[in-house]
Symmetry: C2
Subunit: 321 residues, 2 copies
């Protein structure tokens, strides 16, 4: 990990970076095995112009099962810039407590399957640290989540997906699932589309810091457990739906809904906009965009259709458990 | 124009509103005639919840020549909200000079042709007024522009398009074309894509107010002349290129480039973001998005190809005249 030599390493940081790289390897292997045709290609990249760190972008395209997917890790650091200060709402204290340097490491993935009956999935787990001028840790938080974006609603898939994350959450604190399920429903929202949700949710959380109740180990282990839950939560759904036959009309609907995915990611997603405004690697950030997309003026699904049924749960998120 | 009865009408306002409606009719007729197959459908809409005004959205889809196009007019007004104050950078004066009400009327169009050798075009001409609490006009400005987004570069098309607007500009003031051509190159930029331009430009201007040199008539007549130049500037290019035979590869490239169009409109375009944040009519705002779009990870055109040649002029805007 030579990209880490320039920053003061700690056990927390080292353990987290090891974890995200191992998880990236495991997820890519499981996805390739299930696809049976396409393989991930790798791009290792470094930040330029004195900005520290880099990442490993792994992309799969035109597979049997997966049309486009990216599984990225990044380990990046640098001086706190004004753009970052305003994007992150970092407080503007004077003197030794003023954050001067930052460090972030995370894994982020989006998978767009071929078959419209297989949902798209997104997951992201990250750690962020701030330091003062003397390299003393000033703040550290964890954030992340995993959420599902189906094109057709299979209620049993929604339940099994939510149950997988509820099981993880409950091992840590019985309040977590309820809180983070709501946070997810409140975050992945196309506000400009009358608050239509991007999908049927999952969990989402941010700015989780060590406190009297929960130490840094708690939040690190929680993020690890959520990350490790990805394969057993998502891949069984793919296996169950990937061979359902579909029509041009199903595919058309998938592309219309992918348009909403694009709208959310480019207009609202904090992670995407943060990346674009603070000079992240564009191709890695935008690998989340779906492969083929359709924008049709005022498209309306037929009344009482399966397409309309999906919209119902996107407008009024349900409790799945 | 019953939507205008609630606001204090003036000759300027009335003349401008008449103009944009007439231009909309003329442009739609010319486009339908050239297409020879599809017709525009009309949606007249009113703003709800006590917000004043409405618009007429005209959309053409799946034509022989035009795959998707929208020609919108809107005549809208209301109280100045906080969202608008910050979006428009309206000064925060106290008392009678503080802007309390606004009025806007404009025409906006985007046309996405089927054939990848025919460029996409965008044009927009608008008037904006602010009033104080006593309905006294406090400010008025004009803005607009027309710009071309080719998928393949025909230098003679770029020249004839720019020449059409230079001819209009020169009739008003010899400095206008140079200024507004640069403003266009500086505005339609995907900053997150290393400053790649959306297309080969045209003219763009905003906040043009009456002053000692140029009265309100000057800016109104200029906007009218630019609006009227649309048909003779764009349609001859369509006629010349619409029957060139194209391959799947040409179409693929068109869809990749349409992805960049989506990125600009959703991430950077002030008009789009202003509309989304101030409660504009979503379907009318987003009719600008292309019908079918492709996002591929790290797509690179072949060296010395026609595709690469286009990128050259998008990275380094040229003087066409």
């Amino acid at each position: 990990m030579n990209m880490l030599q320039k920053v003061k390493t700690t056990d927390v940081k080292g353990a987290w970076v090891d974890f995200i790289h191992q998880l990236q390897t495991n997820i890519c292997a499981a996805i390739e095995q299930l696809d049976g045709s396409a393989c991930f290609t790798e791009d290792a990249w470094q930040r330029l112009d004195g900005k520290g760190g880099g990442g490993l972008t792994k992309v799969i395209q035109n597979g049997n099962v997966f049309e486009k997917g990216g599984v990225n890790t990044s380990v990046v650091y640098g001086q706190v810039t004004e753009a970052m200060r305003s994007q992150l709402n970092i407080s503007d204290e004077d003197g030794a407590k003023r954050p001067a340097k930052w460090f972030a490491a995370g894994i982020s993935l989006v998978i767009h399957p071929v078959n419209p009956f297989v949902p798209t999935v997104h997951c992201n787990y990250r750690m962020f640290e701030l330091y003062n001028d003397e390299d003393v840790l000033a703040d550290r938080w964890f954030g992340g989540g995993t959420d599902l974006t189906p094109y057709y609603l299979f209620e049993e898939d929604a339940r099994s997906f939510h149950q997988a994350y509820k099981t993880v959450c409950d091992k840590f604190d019985s309040i977590l699932y309820r809180t983070m399920k709501k946070e997810c429903d409140d975050y992945f929202v196309n506000k400009h589309r009358n608050n239509e949700r991007r999908g049927i949710g999952g969990i989402f959380y941010d700015h989780r810091r060590a406190d009297e109740d929960h130490g840094v180990d708690f939040w690190m282990n929680f993020a690890k457990a959520c990350g490790n839950a990805f394969i057993p939560a998502y891949l069984p759904i793919v296996k169950k739906r990937k061979d359902i036959s579909f029509t041009e009309k199903n595919r058309y609907w998938q592309e219309i809904r992918r348009g909403r995915y694009v709208e959310f990611n480019l207009i609202h997603d904090r992670g995407t906009l943060f990346g674009l405004r603070t000079g992240g690697r564009i191709e890695s950030i935008l690998m989340s965009l779906p492969p083929t997309v359709r924008f049709e003026y005022d498209y309306q699904p037929e009344k009482d259709s399966e397409e309309q049924k999906l919209i119902g749960v996107l407008m009024n998120p349900r409790e799945w458990i």
